[in-house]
């Protein structure tokens, strides 16, 4: 088989046994017009799809677009070519995490990492750890704001003090090690 282009690679990540779903894009811009976060993205979702198809790998991976995707799926339900655009953004996230090629200074990848770690450790998520661990990577102002809000919520009884844990944690960890083939964390 011929060496896959970048757009083939993304198609492979989308598990596109049925051909590259991005090839049917007619560049109409419905996704971009629909996207609630588009003004913060350096490239619109339509443009990212165009760039993937043009195999502009470096430019695509360097963009912040897919980290800004809010997973609202509005583009996906509206796309006239029935492309799952939100899913494409996930594929790009996966690609960039697996290959460590995302833009520097983005909070998204760090947050994803912290979140996954927390859950694999205890089976449930725990807001305080999440908030603090990622916030160190952002500005002091956000950290103070977040801490302030956390305190307020704590006073209202809405912030957990101890991390929650599921009961059959050992089973859970062994279960996870069957899909991520790493030895269970002790």
């Amino acid at each position: 088989m011929a060496k896959p282009s970048f757009s083939d690679e993304i198609a492979n990540l989308l598990h596109a046994g049925h051909g590259n779903p991005l090839r049917t894009c007619i560049q109409c811009g419905t996704c971009s017009g629909t996207c609630p976060v588009v003004e913060y993205m350096d490239h619109t979702p339509r443009r990212i799809i165009g760039m993937i198809r043009a195999n502009l790998k470096d430019e695509v991976l360097a963009s912040n677009t897919y980290w800004y995707c809010a997973s609202c799926y509005h583009c996906t339900v509206r796309c006239p070519a029935q492309i799952d655009i939100a899913e494409t953004m996930y594929a790009l996230k996966r690609y960039s995490i697996w290959k460590h090629v995302h833009q520097e200074g983005l909070v998204g990848p760090v947050f994803s990492e912290t979140f996954v770690k927390t859950i694999l450790r205890s089976g449930r998520s725990f807001e305080p750890i999440l908030a603090t661990s990622y916030l160190f990577s952002s500005g002091a102002r956000e950290l103070i704001q977040e801490a302030f809000m956390g305190t307020k919520m704590m006073l209202k009884g809405r912030m957990p003090v101890l991390p929650p844990r599921i009961k059959r944690l050992d089973n859970f960890k062994r279960m996870v090690s069957r899909v991520i083939p790493l030895e269970a964390d002790s």
Partner: protein
């Protein structure tokens, strides 16, 4: 009596505690038996799927398999939990290879997914399984005159393309009308609040919150009702930061639809977790007992 497996999700343990309390109270009052999954785990939220979809399926499948053991449909009050569980259920049912592999992992916890149950969002249970007529019949304190903005958020509706209401849902309004409240129309009711971005892309998320609050307020909402803990926290707890950021003066209470239902059903406010708000839910006072 209708019985369901109840998957509260991580947020309902603390941040969304009032959602949990009011869910338990309202379902009990309406004769719905929620049996909490005995050892549920996190659904993976939106974040998990970035890294490893198979792992995300595994997490959700564990919860589904536990519900299957009791032969009960799974109910999730959190929209993210609902979406993840719903699609895991769908994908695993459609792809036997995938299901086989996930079951191989589930073996470690003596569980098995066989695709026997359905996944529902809590609001669907009220609207479809209990029924609006039944709810209407049980209202003892109709929330007359209370102008509520029903906020759907994203994942109750999307990406379910088969869903007839995907661009123009009305069931939340119908539910609010059934408890005597006045649902106000406002164009952004189906728009994203930016909940999944609040920690990672704060600036974007705050502006999305601002737009939503503005739109609800412009259309005369006294209170916003949500059906998702992520949306609730995002819209309520970040109001002050929105005000700082944009020089606005929002002070819109954001409550769970179950809390409003609870009041209408005559359940004491305290039992519904009312009072835990950061933006005080003053407009509810006249209806509280």
């Amino acid at each position: 009596m209708k019985e369901f497996a109840y998957f509260p999700g991580c947020s309902l343990e603390k941040v969304g505690l009032s959602y949990h309390l009011s869910t338990v109270e309202t379902t009990r009052k309406l004769g719905v038996d929620l049996k909490e999954l005995e050892d549920w785990n996190c659904c993976g939220a939106t974040t998990y799927f970035h890294v490893d979809e198979l792992l995300a399926y595994t997490l959700c499948a564990r919860n589904l398999a536990m519900a299957e053991k009791d032969n009960l449909d799974l109910v999730a009050p959190c929209s993210a939990c609902y979406k993840n569980s719903y699609f895991t259920n769908k994908h695993l049912k459609e792809d036997p290879d995938l299901a086989e592999h996930i079951n191989y992992a589930l073996e470690e916890d003596n569980l098995n997914f066989s695709g026997q149950i359905e996944v529902k969002h809590l609001i669907e249970v009220f609207v479809h399984d209990v029924g609006l007529e039944e709810i209407r019949n049980n209202v003892s304190m109709p929330l007359e005159g209370l102008r509520v903005a029903p906020y759907y958020g994203c994942q109750i509706l999307r990406p379910r393309k088969d869903h007839e209401d995907v661009e123009q849902a009305e069931f939340f309004e119908d539910l609010l009308s059934a408890i005597g409240a006045e649902p106000i129309p406002y164009p952004l009711k189906l728009k994203c609040c930016g909940g999944s971005l609040i920690l990672s892309s704060r600036e974007a998320a705050l502006s999305m919150v601002r737009n939503l609050l503005q739109n609800a307020e412009d259309n005369g909402a006294e209170v916003i009702a949500t059906a998702c803990p992520m949306c609730q926290v995002n819209l309520e707890c970040y109001q002050q930061q929105v005000n700082q950021e944009f020089g606005t003066r929002f002070s819109v209470p954001v409550v769970y639809f179950t809390q409003l239902m609870g009041l209408a059903l005559g359940i004491p406010a305290k039992k519904l977790g009312i009072g835990k708000e950061i933006v005080a839910a003053t407009p509810l006072a006249p209806y509280a007992r």
